[in-house]
């Protein structure tokens, strides 16, 4: 029952992500910034350890759904690179400032996980802050 539920949740997230990508297209009177990603983390059964994947020598617990394989528990995810406000790899959730999309994909069996933790879509592609100092 639990596996079934998580699979449905992933499908729902993917659907909403597709709607998000279409939202605002063709609007004439307002500008809606184009966003096409609902980032999320996957937690294992103990609810403590987020699933991570290796990217450019560092790890990331942030993903984007690329494809859900119908009739199975397999899901294709792309890796999102966590960035801190200095533009470096963010090593903890506390340091996370922005998420950068990558072309690195993995396929996972969703039945191995218990929870999806979605994050704000504003994090994806968030521009780095302006750095001000006396020159």
């Amino acid at each position: 029952m639990k596996m079934y539920s998580l699979c449905e949740e992933i499908k729902e997230l993917w659907k909403e992500q597709q709607l998000l990508a279409e939202f605002g297209k063709g609007f004439r009177f307002i500008h809606v910034p184009q966003q096409d990603t609902i980032p999320f983390m996957l937690l294992t059964a103990d609810h403590l350890t987020p699933f991570t994947a290796i990217i450019e020598g560092d790890s990331t617990p942030y993903f984007r759904v690329e494809h859900v394989y119908e009739g199975s528990y397999f899901v294709q995810l792309s890796l999102l690179k966590p960035i801190d406000l200095k533009g470096q790899h963010a090593h903890s959730e506390r340091d996370l400032f922005s998420l950068k999309k990558t072309t690195q994909n993995i396929v996972i069996n969703i039945s191995k996980f218990s929870t999806i933790n979605p994050l704000s879509h504003d994090l994806v592609g968030r521009p780095l802050p302006i750095i001000e100092s006396k020159t």
């Binding site: 406000l85 200095k86 802050p129 302006i130 001000e132 100092s133 006396k134 020159t135």
Partner: protein
Amino acid sequence: MRAIVFIGSATTGSSREAMDAAARLGYTVILLTNRKAFLQRIPQDALIKYMEYMDEVSVRKKIIQLLQIDYDIRAVISFIDPYVSMAARLSNEFCSTTISYEALKLMENKIKTRMALRHNEATCEFEIITSDKPQSSTINYPFILKNPNSNGSKDVYFIEDETEFEIAKKKITKQNSGKQILIEEFIDGPQYVIEVIVNESIPIIVAIIQQEITQDYTFIVTAYDAVLKMDESVYLSLWHAVTSIIQKIGLHHGSCHFEMRHTSNGWKLIELNPRISGGTMNRMIEEAFGINLVQETIKLYVGEEPDLIRKKHLAVHTSYITVNSTGYLLAIDGLDQAAACTGVVDVKVKPSIGRTMMPPLSMGHRYGYVMAVGESSDEARERAEDAIKLIKFYLEPL
């Protein structure tokens, strides 16, 4: 219980340091303030009396209440505009002090100050206009347009043509419809703060601090440099300018600071204020000359002899930081590194995380500073400027 009542204070800087100095001198410190910030950050050993209204009637009532509960109030003092002369008047009335409150009152109004000094050699060409009447100036461009009651460079504009004149007039008129506006000739040349104490009619120049000014549409002081040595003839002409102004203003007992520019035509008065300059001024003078000016001013006001003898001569430079962009402050970096630099004696940043920051329109938009000492002015400057470059503000654009 010997006490000193302070009317208003900033949360940091000269006026805040005055409360510490009064406590060191053995007085109970009573602060009357309308700033709720003090309720969260109560200064050590100070009794805070929050007042919604700080008009003279309310303050007088509060002082009477304090006297009735047996506080032996020795002086009422303010280092904050616009309470300086009011505090002096109440001090003379309730504490039998002899502060020249009329002179302080005069200095609180820029138009009255200019009028009183109109025949003085240090005065510049000036003109008074009424904000809601169409009126052009007879003073040639560029000139300075001022709200006569402004401080901290708020509502002080550098005007280069008619368009700027009209825009600046409208800005000042917003808050002061029908009121007078001051136009002053633009004086070029290096600008100095001159801190002065007048003790029983004897003026003493306590310190001279050179200012570095960023001049755009407004004027922002971005650095201060303690002057250790000045050409004798230049100093003598400054002394004459300062004493002649003090005499004309009628300051016999009190403190004030001048802002003056040194030009080929001698010293010219830019501003005259009835108190020590705010911000880092007291700390700079203490680092440079070993004189805690606010402490000595308190002693002057309570009738003790101020100790204005220089105990040291150390170069001190304070560099301020402003920003070029507008945004929310996300993080600050480099404070510890700046504080650890050789010669750095003080580092402060003002904004808290989440606060909106913007390019400077007044001195209130300076967001931090580094103060450094050195064997020479050049060394102190280099140390402060190198250290302040380590401080970084991370801003999320609005």
